[in-house]
């Protein structure tokens, strides 16, 4: 073996790069490089556009196919559709500050969430501001407001129980007592829009008894009104309005209510109230916002395909070698890829979600439905959340594609974990379906819900967090693999 002899080396000076001085590295440059890759393959930009179009078209089709069968000639405000304001309410006028006190002596029927107690509300109209302090057989003493479930309180405590509800300005405070002497504060609420002259009195309410039957392709919900009855004594209101009579709020179902289901009897200072129907959120209301945004279920398929190809096309053609030759720091390359795919998906998601809600609105209005309003915080969260959802789905997909390295399996895996739980859930019993929608990446779609429905599996942000956790875990695995593997 001859030792290396520098033939001709003496004749030339070692070369120096003329552009070295201008070269820069950095994450920003990588983002530009990855974005250049994405935008310069025409069918990828078309895929992004397709994701937007599909989502909007599905929203329009859904809006065109849904009609309100209600008799009203004006569309019902969607916020009002999402609450229930029933039960039986017996009241006195309350001018300005004051309080009402009563003892709930007994309560029968209506289940664990049957309600008996005191209520201060703006008027007898539906959906006015209110504060209700009540005893429940299963959930203790509660202070509830805003047509939301639960409320402050909890713990033990059922009839017989003393209750006191006090108004001072816009603040209403609830107290409870076992004997009418030692009072414990349950909580207080501020009621926006409570008029100076309000109503104070007693109420009973009970949620309907419902049965949900689910099979693939549909579900049936049977609701059976359940009746609750409670007796009150030691009822007093202060300041006592001179000459005022106890009045009953008209039954919303109509004037001719069945006395066994709705009514008031009075014997001396003892009142017995009978009622059915709940005060709180309507768990069976349609989530119009979510329905309008259903199209992303299909639109996301385009995003998933794009994010997969963005990665696997490099593996398939050995282009990844060129990429890693230009940037040997592989973790950064993968991060840049994920960020670019995520931002592109988010941009498409914003266009799709706003497009769907805004363009479907005229159709929904002409069909007698009230379209989701972007002024509503929950609706805005659902719309922006849809864009964020697509961004996280894209990041998750990039990670899976790096792990799997081949297009078809990667697309299948991602769509399976995102769609399958939602499809299978429609055929499972509610309890099993809930777990499926809590534990799989499909939980992320909870960000689109604007109504707390009976079949809600997980809160909007918690669900989104579950998807983010999956994306983070997949990304961590992808980073580890991409550093370890030969290319």
């Amino acid at each position: 073996m001859t030792p290396a002899k520098p033939a001709g080396a003496a004749t030339a000076e070692p070369y120096r790069s003329t552009v070295q001085a201008e070269a820069r590295d950095g994450f920003g440059r990588l983002l530009i490089a990855e974005w250049t890759k994405l935008r310069t393959v025409p069918r990828w930009t078309l895929t992004l556009l397709a994701a937007v179009l599909i989502t909007v078209v599905v929203a329009l089709l859904t809006a065109a196919g849904t009609e309100s069968s209600g008799s009203g000639d004006r569309p019902v405000d969607s916020a009002r559709r999402q609450i229930i304001d029933l039960g039986h309410y017996t009241y006195l006028p309350l001018g300005g500050d004051g309080s009402v006190v009563a003892r709930v002596t007994s309560q029968q029927g209506g289940g664990g969430w049957a309600k008996a107690g005191l209520m201060i509300r703006g008027s007898a109209e539906r959906a006015t501001p209110y504060a209700a302090l009540m005893v429940t057989p299963g959930h203790g003493v509660r202070l509830q407001t805003g047509y939301k479930g639960d409320g402050a309180g909890g713990g033990a405590g059922s009839a017989p129980r003393w209750l006191k509800l006090t108004r001072a300005g816009a603040t209403v405070t609830g107290y409870e007592s076992a004997d009418g002497r030692g009072w414990r504060r349950v909580g207080s609420v501020r009621l926006k829009g409570l008029p100076p002259s309000a109503l104070a009195g007693m109420f009973v309410a009970a949620p309907d008894e419902t049965k949900v039957r689910r099979m693939f392709g549909g579900e049936s919900v049977d609701g059976q009104p359940s009746v609750t009855r409670a007796t009150f004594d030691h009822v007093s209101a202060s300041p006592a309005p001179p000459g005022a009579q106890w009045r009953d709020r008209a039954s919303p179902g109509g004037p001719a209510a069945d006395p066994s289901m709705d009514g008031r009897t009075q014997a001396g200072g003892t009142f017995t109230l009978t009622g059915s129907g709940d005060v709180g959120p309507n768990e069976f209301a349609d989530d119009t916002t979510r329905t309008t945004l259903t199209g992303v279920l299909i639109g996301q398929a385009a995003i998933v395909a794009l994010a997969v190809l963005f990665v696997t096309s490099e593996y398939r053609r050995g282009m990844l070698r060129t990429t890693f030759a230009a940037t040997p720091r592989r973790g950064r390359v993968l991060a840049a890829k994920a960020v670019v795919a995520g931002l592109a998906a988010m941009a498409a998601g914003l266009a799709a979600a706003f497009g769907a809600v805004l363009l479907a609105a005229p159709l929904q209005r002409s069909n007698g439905l009230s379209p989701p309003s972007l002024a509503d915080g929950a609706v805005l969260r659902a719309v922006l959340g849809t864009a964020a959802l697509l961004a996280v789905v894209a990041v998750f997909t990039v990670a899976v594609a790096v792990i799997v390295r081949r297009s078809a399996p990667a697309i299948t895996v991602v769509l399976m974990v995102l769609l399958l739980p939602q499809i299978v859930a429609t055929g499972l019993p509610l309890s099993a379906a809930r777990w499926l929608e809590r534990l799989t990446p499909a939980a992320g779609f909870a960000i689109q819900q604007t109504v707390v429905r009976f079949d809600r599996a997980i809160g909007p942000w918690t669900g989104f967090g579950v998807l983010c956790a999956y994306a983070a875990a997949a990304m961590a695995a992808a980073l580890w693999l991409v550093r370890k593997r030969d290319t």
């Binding site: 201008e22 590295d25 490089a33 310069t40 070698r321 230009a326």
Partner: protein
């Protein structure tokens, strides 16, 4: 120091097969180093390890004295073309160069410069999927030159090119080396490097067989061989063999003689009265020199063949 590619004790195993085994060599500045070996000898694996794409099981590969993975703007240190078809077919040639330039913060002006350098001009706006092999090679060259690097590495750059393309490539490699760059070019055909390389690194089965200047190799392969043309072959062979030469018949009227100088052969034949029509000192081709080298490698391969499970 910038313009060198240096490999020290490199070893890589894929499962049971040893792809590269204790390989060391240096591609120095100002010359074209041919990296030769049969298909599967470990050339591409070595190049991938130089670029930090494959992780060596042992040894180091340095570009300008540093491991490739530690380089921040590597396109300015080493330009490489490993696989000319590694381009997204739907992307325009210029866009392919553009994202590469962005990755190292190079100005877009540089993209247009290398397009001209590689003679891509008219095709720059066309999608790479419609490129002929020759055009793809040019695009690969353009990408390698993007950072104007002092070291360059090409894996089988003339493979599949037409004669015109081969001549162009050869000229390009020479001119890049003449500027003082280190150029490492792999090929499985020694003939392709004829007149192109100054220095050769020959490997077989992942092991170094020769690391030599082309000049030395040719001299060694030609040494002492004389080609003789004569109609009276048998008599010539007898006469020369008696004088102690090794004589091989290479044709009906041709023999190759080793062990005697040309002058001595002429004297002997004239003395014996054997007429001949031609006599010349043999000038080995690079291909022959390679065969000479790999004769040993074949034996070596047989030995390792038995050792390997």
């Amino acid at each position: 120091m910038d313009a060198t590619i240096e490999v020290r004790g490199l070893r890589k195993r894929f499962g049971p097969t040893v792809a590269v085994d204790d390989l060391s060599f240096t591609a120095g500045p100002g010359r074209v180093t041919g990296f030769v070996g049969p298909n599967g000898a470990g050339k591409s694996t070595t190049m991938r390890m130089i670029m930090g794409l494959d992780r060596p099981d042992a040894g180091t590969a340095l570009v300008g004295g540093r491991p490739y993975r530690s380089l921040r703007t590597p396109l300015c240190k080493l330009g490489a073309m490993l696989d000319a078809s590694a381009v997204h077919p739907a992307r325009r040639a210029r866009d392919h160069l553009l994202w590469l330039a962005h990755a190292n913060g190079l100005p877009a002006r540089r993209v247009d410069e290398v397009i001209e350098l590689a003679g891509l001009g008219g095709a720059a706006r066309r999608r790479a999927g419609g490129f002929s092999l020759g055009m793809r090679q040019r695009l690969g060259i353009a990408a390698a030159l993007l950072g104007d690097p002092p070291a360059l590495m090409f894996d089988e750059p003339v493979n599949g090119l037409d004669p015109e393309g081969i001549a162009w490539m050869r000229g390009l490699l020479r001119s890049l080396a003449a500027e003082g760059r280190a150029v490492l070019v792999s090929s499985h055909l020694m003939g392709e490097l004829e007149g192109g390389a100054d220095h050769l690194v020959v490997i077989g089965r992942g092991r170094l067989i020769a690391d030599t200047a082309v000049q030395d190799l040719l001299e060694a392969a030609s040494a002492g061989r004389v080609e003789l043309r004569t109609a009276r072959r048998q008599e010539a062979m007898t006469a020369l063999a008696h004088a102690g030469a090794t004589v091989t018949a290479t044709g009906r009227d041709a023999v190759t003689v080793t062990g005697l100088t040309t002058e001595r052969i002429i004297t002997l034949l004239t003395g014996a009265g054997v007429a001949f029509t031609g006599i010349a000192e043999h000038r080995a081709s690079l291909e022959e020199a390679y065969m000479e080298l790999t004769k040993d490698a074949v034996e070596f391969q047989a030995v390792t063949g038995r050792e390997a499970p």
